[in-house]
Amino acid sequence: MSDVSDQPLVELRDVGKSYGHILALEGVNLTVRAGEVTCVLGDNGAGKSTLIKIISGRHRHDAGTLLVDGKETSFGSPRDALEHGIATVYQDLAVVPLMPVWRNFFLGSELTSGVWPLRRLQVDQMKETADTELRKMGIELPDIDAPIGSISGGQRQCVAIARAVYFGARVLILDEPTAALGVKQSGVVLRYVAAAAQQGLGVIFITHNPHHAYMVGDHMILLNRGRMTLDCKREDITLDDLTQEMAGGDELDALSHELSR
């Protein structure tokens, strides 16, 4: 049993990716273990999205190796990644705003009964399950039938996460889940991220907010222009240092010096 949990769920070794002449990612090492939150920090254009796209199966890496459960893998599509238990919750949430909450919850993994051509959705069961799952994470919707576009951003984010967890994700990739949210809504999401890790999921938390990363992360990775500039455990770094690194370190010093009056 113990070697199962020691084995990283996902491991990247020296992974790189280029688009034409542009080197988007180079020499990235990253491990995701069950029950851990790995934070990937970086400014815009640092290569965070490219990294997610590789792990979630949207793009193939062209250098290095990607291991899932210790086996070398290369995903051809997001479905491939999903089948390996790697689910991604994108910044833009991957929800369809005009569709009801429960339909969004089960989208792509609908519950059906009966034989074709009479195979039908188990509407009542789906509504009930979606409602129960959401209540578990503290989201009480007056109406599970309401279009998902009508609930708040934090709640939508949590629906997306709850959906991934419910459908058996082992690794959860969260693409800037708090970027567009206010302080209170961010709290809702962060609390749920921590809860997901406690349930034994491996979480990759992409963010450019060092405060959020420091609150939930076990491991910090900083990307800058496609390269890793920091790779350490939470206990090896202080929030101030992380913020400093994140903000560009020396560059920030120079800037603050320049702007000081």
Partner: protein
């Protein structure tokens, strides 16, 4: 956060969502540190009832239903002859001839795409069956099957090109429309030497085809054209598919946000190609009605009908941008069209007014749709 093997154990056992989900559910149910209630609105019964009523009024087909009642009342008042059962039967027939097409077109629009090749497509369907049968002196049904294959292929090509090239379906199907229009005339002239096909009414299998695609049934003293029954059946099937099947979920998602749908594993490309082929099927069916009702087919017809189908679907509450609408709404849109065309005839007005009326209703419907959509998004 330590890694508890007890927890990691079941998680690592292969992809079996259902089993895994249930084990996780029980674990979460056992009261692990879940996030406490936050950001949730209070769920009082009153809120629930108000939002239910509101959503009922905001259903995609409510606007068109209102429109249908209004149009019905107008013609009931101004055109006395329309009050008879017989006249109502004519209205239904007119509605059904375009309504069958509108089922497919409406589904396609909900799926976020557009088809301009439908009008001439119906003619292509009829022509290919007729010419195939006549030239090879076969049973009419060989032509009927051949035509089905042709129309499914046309739908497939439309869908394939749209999904592969990612060019807007407006342009792809505009190209298809022009190609079909040209081929309809050229091939017919080349093979028959005329612009219309020869009569096939004395050939084997025609009687059965007529019975299935173009007969009239007496229901309680009201003569009902069989296309009306087919129309209702197709609307019922489309409604069931949209609301009660996986594919229906995919259609709404493909139209509402294809990227989001793809990200959660919905086969968006297959769904869209399937929708184009459904439109092809409807065009085939309408073409068969045309063939068996009129025996000979004019090769230059059909053009501008595609716009009527789209107008009917939009009046019925289907959003032009996709992701919203119902098959019943589309049917009501077709009914409004049927009632307007026939009502104007019965009222003794200039039949050119039909287009004017359609235009007015389209504008009203579009504005209504926009408002409904905004309200629906607000919840």
């Amino acid at each position: 956060m330590d890694t508890n093997p007890q927890q990691a154990g079941p998680v690592a056992t292969g992809p079996q969502p259902a089993a895994k989900a249930s084990s996780r559910r029980s674990r979460a149910g056992a009261g692990e540190a879940g996030p406490s209630a936050a950001g949730g609105a209070a769920a009082s019964d009153q809120v629930r009832n108000v939002s239910r009523l509101r959503r009922f009024l905001l259903r995609p087909e409510m606007g068109s239903l209102l429109g249908a009642v209004l149009v019905f009342l107008i013609f009931w008042t101004v055109a006395e002859p329309i009050r008879s059962l017989h006249a109502f039967s004519t209205v239904l027939y007119a509605s059904s001839t375009i309504g069958i097409m509108v089922v497919g077109v409406g589904l396609l629009m909900i799926g976020g795409e557009f088809d301009l090749s439908t009008g001439v497509g119906v003619i292509t369907g009829a022509l290919s069956a007729s010419i195939f049968t006549y030239q090879l002196s076969l049973n009419v049904w060989a032509g009927v099957i051949f035509s089905l294959a042709v129309m499914l292929l046309v739908g497939f090509v439309n869908g394939f090109l749209v999904t592969m090239t990612k060019i807007h379906s407006f342009l792809i199907t505009l190209g298809m429309m022009l190609m079909l229009f040209g081929l309809n005339l050229t091939v017919t002239k080349l093979i028959t030497g005329q612009v219309a096909t020869s009569s096939i009414s004395d050939m084997d299998g025609f009687a059965l085809g007529e019975k299935i695609f173009a007969s009239t049934i007496d229901i309680g003293g009201m003569p009902v054209r069989i296309t009306v029954l087919w129309w209702l059946l197709f609307v019922a099937i489309a409604t069931w598919v949209l609301l009660r099947t996986k594919v229906g979920n995919w259609i709404y998602a493909a139209g509402g946000d294809p990227e989001a749908a793809r990200a959660v594993g919905v086969p968006v490309t297959a769904t869209k190609i399937g929708l184009f082929m459904t439109v092809g099927f409807c065009a085939w069916f309408s073409g068969m009605h045309l063939l068996f009702a009129f025996d000979t087919v004019q090769s230059g017809g059909g053009i501008t009908n595609e716009l009527i189908y789209i107008v009917a679907a939009v009046i019925g509450g289907c959003l032009l941008t996709g992701g919203y609408g119902t098959a019943i709404g589309a049917a009501i849109g077709a009914f409004i069209y049927g009632m307007t065309t026939q009502g104007i005839v019965f009222a003794g007005w200039d039949s050119n007014l039909v287009k004017f009326f359609l235009g007015v209703m389209l504008l009203l419907a579009v504005m209504m749709n926009m408002w409904v959509r905004r309200q629906a998004e607000k919840g």
